[in-house]
Amino acid sequence: MRKIYLPLTEEIRESLRAGEEVLLSGKMYTARDAAHKRLYEAIKKHKKLPLDLTDNVIYYCGPTPAKPGAPVGSCGPTTAKRMDGFTPALLASGLAGMIGKGRRSEEVKKAIKRYKAVYLVAVGGAGAYFASKIKKANILAYKELGPEAIYELWVENFPAIVAIDSRGQSIIKE
């Protein structure tokens, strides 16, 4: 299986093909509904974002609380389509990729192609498995949102499947 080291540069994105399985290593960020709303509003108001989106990957995930000594609790992907309304604006601001589960809207698919981004699917419901791939976690922003805060996650060999590639090709069953 192909190993990818983050950040996800344009060169890597363009080489990924829908249906390909990859192992990701490096740093990614979590954000789900509430964090997306905040990032989106900040972009609309031309405010500074708490993270630089350029070439970075957002994982749609809200981990369960960590047991003592562990970086995070179970942390599988959440349903991607709830983020659809916010995603094109984030992609326009440099976001390189998203990891989630399930289908995306036509608008998101078009934006992925336009900004040469990529949507990856992680296996939904495999929360304990993904926890074992996370080596370190740190809250970066919006701490008050609890499990919905933005975390920095350092991952090693995190498996994902390219579901929509930078050419707009998709393997998701409609």
């Binding site: 369960t64 609380p65 047991k67 942390c75 296996v123 419901g125 495999a126 304990a128 926890a131």
Partner: protein, 279 residues
């Protein structure tokens, strides 16, 4: 009368919360293993293998199988020769609260469906009581995530509806939202009664072993036709294609009114979790 204390009920419920969330049901695990062998899509196969590995890690590390630990549905079957000294509702909910706290499990319950403030305890749970003639008390905890609960559907069909119409209703529900409900799915179907009776039956049907064959011949046939048709959709594991869209279908039925045919399909993700104990 056999006495059972509320403390005993609380202890058992809290243990069942942990068991259900950390150890995948054996019948679910073996159906995943069978599917991993028979799935033709390479991607589907590797997804199924990840799910099997996930169950192993969850059990070994004491981690939630899935972070979406749901709202707890509790089935409490009370023998008529049992006397519970105290408030049984309170005892069950206290067990739920303790279990979710101990297990570092996500609290997902809001106190009011419109105001939506998290109760912080994952209570109240949804409790279904029933009675039998024994001197025992059976408790079953079913943590239910809402990704798949939201994909579930009620159909109030005409009494003259054909078998094909029932199948199409169920398959239609899967086609509509199944891809986002973490397939491979497990379907619990309630047929007959009233709207509420069919809904309760559909939930109870998810407690049956995944590949149990129905003792009623006509329902056995319907289960296998639905399973076949759902798998023909090609949605596959994680919605990325393959022949394993559904691991199993169980139907429970009840007498109904001459003018109606309620059908409820309760969709479950592959992480179908439940645990039971007989006190």
């Amino acid at each position: 009368m056999r006495k059972i204390s509320t403390k005993k009920i609380t202890d058992v419920v809290s243990r069942l919360v942990l068991k259900a969330n950390f150890s995948l049901r054996k019948d679910v695990l073996s159906s995943l293993k069978r599917a991993a062998l028979s799935e033709k899509s390479p991607l589907g196969k590797s997804i199924l293998k990840i799910l099997i590995e996930n169950a192993r890690i969850a059990e070994k590390e004491g981690l939630a199988i899935c972070q979406y630990t749901g709202i707890a549905v509790v089935f409490c079957e009370i023998g008529q020769k049992v006397h519970v000294g105290g408030d049984i509702d309170k005892a069950i909910n206290e067990g739920i609260r303790l279990g979710y706290k101990k297990g570092c499990l996500r609290k997902s319950v809001v106190s009011d469906p419109i105001i939506r403030k998290n109760t912080g305890t994952n209570t109240p749970s949804i409790i279904h009581y029933s009675f039998n003639k024994s001197d025992k008390l059976r408790l079953t905890v079913l943590p239910k995530g809402f990704g798949c609960e939201n994909a579930s559907k009620v159909f109030m069909l005409k009494p003259t509806a054909t078998e094909e119409e029932i199948i199409e209703s169920v398959v239609g529900a899967v086609k509509e939202q199944g891809a986002d409900a973490c397939p491979p799915l497990i379907l619990g179907i309630g047929i007959g009664g009233t709207l509420d009776k069919a809904a309760t039956l559909s939930k109870e049907a998810t407690l049956l072993p995944v590949n149990k064959t129905n003792p009623k011949k006509h329902l056995k046939r319907l289960e296998s036709l639905i399973l076949k048709r759902v798998n023909e959709t090609g949605i596959g594991p994680a919605g990325l294609g393959g022949k394993t869209t559904c691991l199993g279908v169980n139907i429970l039925s009840f007498p109904t009114h001459i003018a109606g045919l309620p059908v409820v399909v309760n969709i479950n993700c592959h992480a179908l979790r439940s645990a039971e104990s007989l006190i």
